[in-house]
């Protein structure tokens, strides 16, 4: 078990190393001069050279990467080109918003998607199944930004015109300062993200449950005289859980690296919004930082999912 974990962590570290090298060198073949961006259009050659020296970009690429890597290991990701603040700090400030968004939405999409999937799978072909399928199709075909704009228009803009403030226009309030305000600001982003994702999970759950409910051990459970609720939730869901956990791990990890569209639409100052700003500003250290953060989440989530497998399935133990 320890050996397995050590192997997985070593492998994950390798993935991050390759990723860091890839994004780092990518920026040196990309066009654009960071010195010119910082010093402005009117800067002289001498000024530019000075800026380059300060940034350290006058040194050979390999040397720069070496410095970056050794600093990164201590948690120092360099400084933003824009405002000279430490990248790690800038990103750390953005994490709570993204984390709040993803965690809340994940709970919501599981709470909606899994029961719809189960309802659909229990009576395939029935009216209830068709309703479930319609939900899945609608959710999957709605782009998040359309749903986001629509909800803002219907639930914020129109009521506002009528003199009602049902929801805030956007933005993020810290959980630590005022939990109620935090939740009020996140309610629309949560629902928007959760509705599309719930469709994905409903479809996955439906497929899994259809397979599982045809298994022999489900027949055994019924032959024991268990109630249908127990058959479905204890025996069926238990077996359908593994692929759901895999998907959930991957989705959450991906989103913690930034939920670009939702954060933009609702003006949440999260990691995704930061990434968009960094790309617009050509702020390389921040882009590299955000990419590495995303990579870290995905690697970590994969290890956690593997550990879950071992917990869930006695046969792999």
């Amino acid at each position: 078990m320890i050996r397995f974990l050590a192997r997985r962590i070593a492998f994950g570290a390798g993935v991050l190393l390759v990723l860091s090298a890839f994004v780092f060198f990518l920026f040196f073949v990309a066009p654009g001069d960071p010195a010119r961006m910082i010093a402005g259009d009117k800067a002289t050659e001498a000024q530019l050279a000075m800026v380059r020296k300060n940034l350290g970009v006058d040194r050979p690429v390999i040397a720069q990467y070496g410095t970056f890597l050794s600093r990164a290991l201590t948690g120092d990701l360099g400084f933003s080109y824009r405002n000279q603040q430490p990248v790690a700090q800038i990103i750390a400030r953005r994490i709570p918003a993204t984390l709040s968004l993803v965690a809340g939405a994940a709970l919501l999409w599981l709470a909606i998607g899994v029961p719809i999937g189960i309802m659909s799978a229990r009576h395939p072909g029935s009216f209830r199944d068709r309703i479930g399928q319609a939900f899945i199709l609608t959710g999957l075909s709605f782009p998040t930004f359309v749903l986001g704009m629509m909800s803002l228009y219907l639930l914020y803009f129109l009521p506002k015109q009528a003199g009602l403030t049902l929801f805030p226009p956007g933005g993020y309030k810290a959980l630590t300062s005022n939990p109620a305000l935090w939740a009020w600001h996140l309610l629309l982003p949560w629902s928007t993200l959760a509705l599309t994702m719930a469709a994905v999970y409903a479809r996955l759950t439906r497929g899994q449950m259809l397979d599982v409910m045809g298994e022999d051990y489900i027949r055994t459970a019924r032959a024991k005289g268990l109630s249908e609720q127990r058959v479905v939730w204890k025996h069926g869901m238990r077996a359908a859980l593994t692929p759901l956990v895999t998907q959930l791990g991957a989705d959450i990890a991906l989103m913690l690296g930034g939920v670009i569209v939702i954060e933009q639409v609702y003006g949440l100052q999260g990691v995704g919004a930061l990434a968009v700003q960094a790309v617009t500003n050509q702020d390389r250290p921040i882009i590299i930082g955000v990419v590495l953060l995303g990579g870290l989440f995905i690697v970590a989530a994969n290890i956690i999912v593997d550990l879950f497998y071992v917990l869930l399935d006695p046969r792999v133990r």
């Binding site: 027949r219 055994t220 032959a223 005289g225 792999v316």
Partner: protein, 615 residues
């Protein structure tokens, strides 16, 4: 006194193709404490009927009446039905591995039955489960309570299922093919256990099986189903002594055990009807050898005989005695010099296996096997699952290299072949696989499947290939006009013929038949066995025949090798092996396999009553 009585039970299942009439107008009654056998081939409706009775087929349209403990099970509210299931009626299914939940411990799965039906503390439930596990023969049950199903062997898993079915001491247990997925020696143990438990607890048992040998050894009463109809019913002793219905008689005739080795089997011709259509006359008439002119046009009456046997048949005197089949002489082998096709010398095979967390260990699958297969003979390879018989076949076919030892086929060392020789060997050794459904590509036409060997080895193409394929189809008894059909349009037996035709295409020196008939019903099995024998006689083929079924092996093989734990423990001619087994394991195998006794007649039987049945 009856425990359960079914009257005019009819089960229809709506499907996309139409309504499947799975069970039609079946009536029976079961005496308390008896073992009631339901026999039938696949599609006879035996499993569907019991599952419908138990309310496990929610989509089925069920009519008729099933009385159990004073109540009609058909139409019983779901909550009442649930109380009966597990509480008053226990069920045991075919495959104990897939029937147990892989993620829960066996103890908790059994305890769940207690908790579902009684208010009981976890400690008390645990104690009762452990007691029950001990009674069904699980060693050190207290320690094994917290083990998962995959940590048990097949036989032990079925014991767990039996413990689960018995824990509340139900009045009735329905065992649906409880031994079919198990090895023959384990089968005997499980049947003995069921029989013991029935006596200990006074439980009535419904045993559903396709295995007439098994039924003849344990059942008190039997009912024979065919295409959803109850064709025959009565005391097991009387039915097996003198089957009244031609179908039952035909089934017994199809069993290789009732023949002298080497003789031709008398299979039931044709194949079972579609369950979508409603027959006008007798459902068995198209396959019946004794059919009268009106059998196909008028529904048969129920004949009740003096010994209590009932038969749904127009024949007044019941089925005729065993139709004499002229035993066709087989080309006898001269025991002296036979030219070897394949020789296996001291072959070992060792696998490296690593567990999930990396610990490596070695697994010896073959531990020094010697075997010679002579030209024109059939060598049988028998043994229980995991004994290495299929692995040995793969080694002989050159699909898995041996770790040590030599395999020579046609004088060539299979371990030292270059690419072109290996290709040539692929021609000389062909394999017929067990599963006729899984081993044919469903998207390719039968003609191209059978023609593949010609294509792959660049032997014939175009019209010439087509002609050869048609010829092959004719040889194996398929209609050459079905050249363009897909495998799904053929039945199991026909698919196995397709597999045999493909194997024959290149005139191979050796055909390895890996359990070729074990997925087939007994009447179809007899057809395929006859085909294999005929082909050998006509084409001089050499077979290596792998099977777990001793009666099949005995029937078709010249010599039989008994394998156990990666070794051949006994090798003898078929007759000698059965008459005078030397190795204790061979004796165990022989003792465990049960064959139905040959019918001895029923001359004293007279027709007592004839009833018209509404159908």
């Amino acid at each position: 006194m009856v425990v359960l009585e079914a009257r005019n039970l009819t089960v229809d299942i709506p499907t996309e193709d139409g309504v499947v009439h799975a069970v039609r107008n079946v009536s029976f009654s079961i005496r308390p404490g008896s073992l009631f056998g339901i026999a039938g081939e696949s599609g006879s409706g035996k499993s569907v009927m019991t599952q419908a009775m138990m309310g496990l087929l929610p989509n089925a349209d069920i009519r008729g009446e099933v009385r159990f403990e004073g109540r009609n099970l058909i139409g019983l509210p779901a909550s009442e039905m649930r109380k009966l299931r597990g509480g008053r009626i226990g069920m045991i299914f075919q495959d104990p591995l897939s029937s147990l939940h892989p993620y829960y411990t066996i103890g908790s799965q059994i305890a769940e039955v207690l908790h579902a039906h009684e208010r009981i503390s976890p400690e008390e439930a645990r104690a009762r489960v452990i007691d029950m596990l001990g009674r069904v023969g699980i060693p050190s049950p207290a320690d094994r309570y917290d083990d998962y199903p995959h940590q048990f062997s097949g036989g032990m898993r079925q014991r767990v299922m039996i413990a689960m079915a018995l824990i509340l001491k139900p009045a009735l247990i329905i065992a649906d093919e409880p031994t079919t997925a198990l090895d023959v020696t384990v089968q005997a143990q499980i049947v003995a256990l069921l029989d013991d438990m029935r006596r200990d607890f006074g439980t009535t048992v419904i045993l559903i099986t396709h295995d007439l040998g098994l039924l003849s050894s344990v059942a008190d009463d039997v009912m024979v189903l065919y295409a959803g109809h109850r064709l025959e019913c009565g005391k097991a002793a009387n039915v097996f002594r003198a089957p009244a219905h031609p179908y039952t008689a035909g089934l017994l005739r199809s069993t290789p055990a009732s023949y002298k080795p080497g003789s031709e089997l008398a299979p039931i011709k044709g194949r079972p009807p579609s369950l979508l259509a409603t027959p006008v006359g007798c459902v068995f008439a198209p396959r019946c050898t004794e059919a009268l002119p009106h059998c196909a046009t008028q529904p048969p009456p129920l004949r009740v005989y003096s010994d209590g046997v009932e038969s749904l048949c127009w024949l007044e005197k019941g089925a005729g005695t065993t139709a004499p089949v002229p035993p066709r002489a087989k080309a006898t082998h001269h025991a002296g010099q036979i030219e070897p096709v394949a020789t296996v010398e001291n072959v070992h095979l060792t696998y490296q296996v690593g567990s999930f967390f990396g610990q490596k260990r070695t697994l010896d699958v073959l531990k020094g096997v010697d075997l010679t297969i002579g030209k024109g003979e059939t060598v049988g390879l028998v043994g229980e699952s995991g004994c290495g018989k299929s692995t040995l076949a793969r080694v002989i076919a050159g699909l898995t290299p041996a770790t040590a030892g030599t395999v020579k086929v046609l004088g060539r060392d299979m371990g030292a072949l270059d690419a072109s020789q290996w290709r040539e060997m692929r021609r000389q050794i062909q394999v017929v696989f067990q599963d006729p459904f899984g081993s044919l590509n469903p998207r390719r036409r039968v003609g191209s499947i059978i023609g593949d060997p010609f294509r792959l080895h660049g032997i014939a193409s175009g019209e010439e290939r087509k002609a050869k394929v048609r010829h092959l189809m004719e040889i194996v008894g398929l209609n050459p006009e079905h050249y363009n059909r897909f495998p799904s349009e053929f039945s199991g037996g026909q698919r196995q013929r397709i597999g045999i035709a493909r194997a024959l295409a290149l005139n191979p020196a050796l055909i390895i038949c890996d359990e070729p008939v074990s997925a087939l019903d007994v009447s179809i099995q007899a057809q395929v066995l006859n085909l294999l024998r005929r082909l050998q006689r006509e084409l001089g083929l050499t077979y290596l025949f792998i099977s777990h079924d001793l009666s099949v092996v005995r029937h078709i093989c010249d010599r039989i090798a008994v394998m156990q734990g990666g070794k051949i423990v006994e090798l003898a001619t078929a007759e000698r092996l059965f008459a005078d087994p030397q190795h204790p394991y061979t004796r165990t195998l022989l003792a465990a396999s049960k064959a139905p006794p040959a019918p001895t007649g029923g001359k004293d039987r007279v027709l007592a009553e004839t009833r018209q049945v509404a159908s």
